[in-house]
Subunit: 214 residues, 2 copies
């Protein structure tokens, strides 16, 4: 944040913190009881706050769902744009994207599952906005695949379809990953990077080393 | 069916037909309005039958959901077992499995989406039974990968993780496929077969020809 007055900053930070906590608890409840089975009262109870407190941060339950639903794709698009300006080969860039986005999916698993389950409960315009962001992600990813194919680095017959499948390979993790389960986050990320490497048939190099830990 | 008395057969066929139609219309409604937003009355209305008619085929709404939820995995497991007894290399078998299961997923897309969205509304024991079937599928698939790896036909470091990812690549299609959309069923099946071929690093052969149409 760049505002000059620290007092204003703290206020904004606190508001953001409160919104995040509301979103987190709402997500737990949506995950366990479904969107329709969760009331604003239940969310307020969880946080031991009043209903008007919730309403001062979110207009209604639908706005909380929208905030949850857009989180995964917003972070993924930001990561994608960040990775694609780093100089390197198409594979260097793609590897970074897959690493970061798989991590985002693992770490925001519950939000992504809630989105996939509850998309039909979103306001249609908001649902469309998220779908457009998802398309934009696939489209940018397809461009990376097409560039890599054009310079002979990858072998990708249908970049758009392959981008969708790579998106699916990453997103699917949200539907089965269990924290503390058989595979660690790092193992899963490494597996997805290696799988994508094979999928795009990266030429003239050994398979990727395990993803660096940051 | 092998029963000797044709009269009994027709009766059973009709009962099956009615159950299928109830399941279909219920699935459309669950897909559009969610499980909780759909009443037995609404399902009866759609079929222009009475509520007691529905109850003579399904004990309650939960039983309809269970019937919908288990369909995709039941068909997929049957296809898997059918493909694995056909003589051939590991890749011959795997290719057949991917072909058949991706087709099942495309053709039962709505049921699969309803399952993924509404799993939390299943009776816990029934949800567990389906999860066990899904694990059994992944486990059998991992065995095929491990056999192919053992004879040097594939190169698969972690058969269980790779089986999960292949399951995800196929299942993800249910979440984006649009009948009459940009890609045909045959194009998608061919794409998934080729992707799996690369993923398991099939040795010593050209990439798969397009899936045969049956």
């Amino acid at each position: 944040m760049t505002a000059a007055r620290p007092g204003n900053n703290l206020k904004a930070e606190l508001a953001q913190f409160k919104r995040r906590r509301i979103r987190e608890e709402a997500s737990h409840l949506f995950y366990r009881h479904g969107y329709e089975g969760t009331t604003i009262d239940a969310i307020a109870d969880k946080l031991q706050v009043t209903k008007p407190f919730i309403y001062s941060y979110y207009k209604n339950k639908g706005e909380i769902l929208y905030d949850i639903a857009k989180l995964g794709i917003t972070l993924s698009l930001e990561a994608l744009e960040r990775c694609l300006v780093i100089p390197g080969s198409s594979w260097d860039q793609l590897k970074l994207v897959v690493d970061e986005v798989t991590r985002i999916i693992v770490e925001n698993q519950e939000y992504i599952v809630v989105y996939l389950r509850e998309e039909k409960n979103l306001d249609p315009q908001q649902a469309r906005a998220i779908r457009e962001q998802r398309s934009a992600f696939d489209h940018r990813l397809a461009e990376v695949l097409a560039s890599g194919d054009a310079v002979g680095e990858f072998r990708v017959e249908d970049p758009a379809l392959t981008a969708t499948t790579i998106g699916g390979m990453m997103s699917w993790v949200a539907l089965w990953y269990q924290p503390g389960g058989h595979w660690s986050e790092a193992e899963i990320i490494t597996h997805i990077i290696r799988s994508v490497e094979r999928l795009v048939a990266v030429r003239g190099r050994q398979e990727a080393a395990p993803a660096p830990r940051r």
